[in-house]
Symmetry: C2
Subunit: 220 residues, 2 copies
DNA sequence: TCAAGATATGAAGGAACATTGAGCTTTTGG
DNA sequence: CCAAAAGCTCAATGTTCCTTCATATCTTGA
């Protein structure tokens, strides 16, 4: 399913000495900093190199062009994020749906929030056309994990796993992003997060009633 | 509350003859087309002018610079969107919460979907740093309208209007955007939309029980 | 210790763009 | 019908930025 990067976006060379590994990390970090402080429009190769404390040429030893740098940055992040989602899904296999939803919210929210500046910086970099494929791949991978998780729930009744996944995934990911973009106060953020969880619970409970005839949410 | 555009982003001249009104429209339309087909990176003044069938200079008679063009485009769109939300809120004043939520979903979803390409094009243009202010203004305006609407509901009980608004707004706007970005089939889109509505209903019903002791959702 | 490979430098080339302004055409109002 | 205002054109300007490459320095393994 993974499309793999277009040739023009592949890394040019892989660091082998530890010195260069440090360099590449510095370049990534510098990219985030510039993105954060100056925005996508000011993300120039020179500025990144400068902030990373290396020369422009060095950058071009590891990335064939500027786009590839942004691509790699997003790839790194999305890969880690997908990994965390998969871990959560593995851990929650067989749990009740409500707990799964709660755990998913927790994982996603934490991932976006713990280094909020990074998240913000990356949101600014996703305009690049070719990153679309990257996002699609991430979505596919995450959906596979969550759908499988949901399918393993004891209280799935006769629900359709892909549909349930579509709903919960869209609501959770969408809401978290929206919350993020609003720049909420800590208090509001906590409140919203709780309410989002409550909302998923309520939805699952009503569906349960529908499907089993039992009132499930009162067992909290 | 409206910050108003920075001086560098204000329109240079307002069309007075009908000929120029056509021109400005063509420029806006061309901007959308270019954004759609080639992405933000290829949005150059020459390309826009070319597609609009005018010369570059003409563009500069109405917009002091490229950024201002993008700014104006977003402004136009967000203003219309806010207007529609306000209209819905006015119309639903005094209705039950569940109907309000349903109506809000309907308005927002329709607005985003009816000219999906435009929405998609604009999402691609929001990287510009100064558009942040525009989005904030939109959020403020929309939140004012929806909060007032919610406050007028007969079944508000002892809920806190701003908090309820925060929750529903974030969930609805966030989910619609996420749905949009997934490029769903018509069938899946309809399904998700229905489930989102159900979810809001379920949430409101449980809260109602909490607040009034009555089971409200079974009256569907 | 030393040669081969890895890594780093930064000035220079060259393409792509945003923006201007002097001059031309069309519309308007009287 | 005509002068003033509005609208339009496009070649030229100057800047910004990506990318390369010849050269220099550092690291590794034998």
């Amino acid at each position: 399913m993974t499309r793999g990067p277009k040739p023009a976006l592949k890394a040019r060379k892989t660091p082998v000495q530890s010195r260069s590994r440090v360099t590449v990390d510095a370049i990534f970090e510098a990219t985030i900093q510039v993105l954060l402080r100056e925005g996508m429009r000011a993300l120039t190769t020179t500025r990144v190199a400068e902030r990373a404390g290396v020369s422009v040429g060095t950058m071009y030893q590891y990335f064939p062009n500027k786009q590839a740098l942004v691509y790699a940055l997003n790839e790194r992040y999305l890969d880690a994020l997908a990994g965390r989602i998969e871990a959560t899904c593995a851990e929650m296999r067989g749990a009740p749906l409500a707990e799964m939803a709660e755990a998913l919210i927790d994982t996603y929210w934490t991932a976006k929030t713990e280094r909020a500046e990074v998240t913000r910086a990356l949101y600014r970099s996703v305009v690049e056309l070719d990153n679309d494929a990257l996002l699609q791949d991430f979505a596919t991978r995450a959906d596979a994990a969550t759908t499988a998780m949901f399918a393993s729930a004891p209280d799935m009744a006769d629900r359709d796993a892909p549909t349930l996944n579509l709903t919960l995934a869209a609501v959770i990911y969408g809401t978290v992003r929206n919350a993020f973009e609003r720049g909420l106060s800590d208090k509001d953020a906590r409140r919203l997060r709780r309410n989002l969880a409550d909302m998923c619970q309520a939805y699952l409970a009503v569906k349960a009633e529908h499907h089993t005839g039992a009132i499930a949410w009162s067992t909290s």
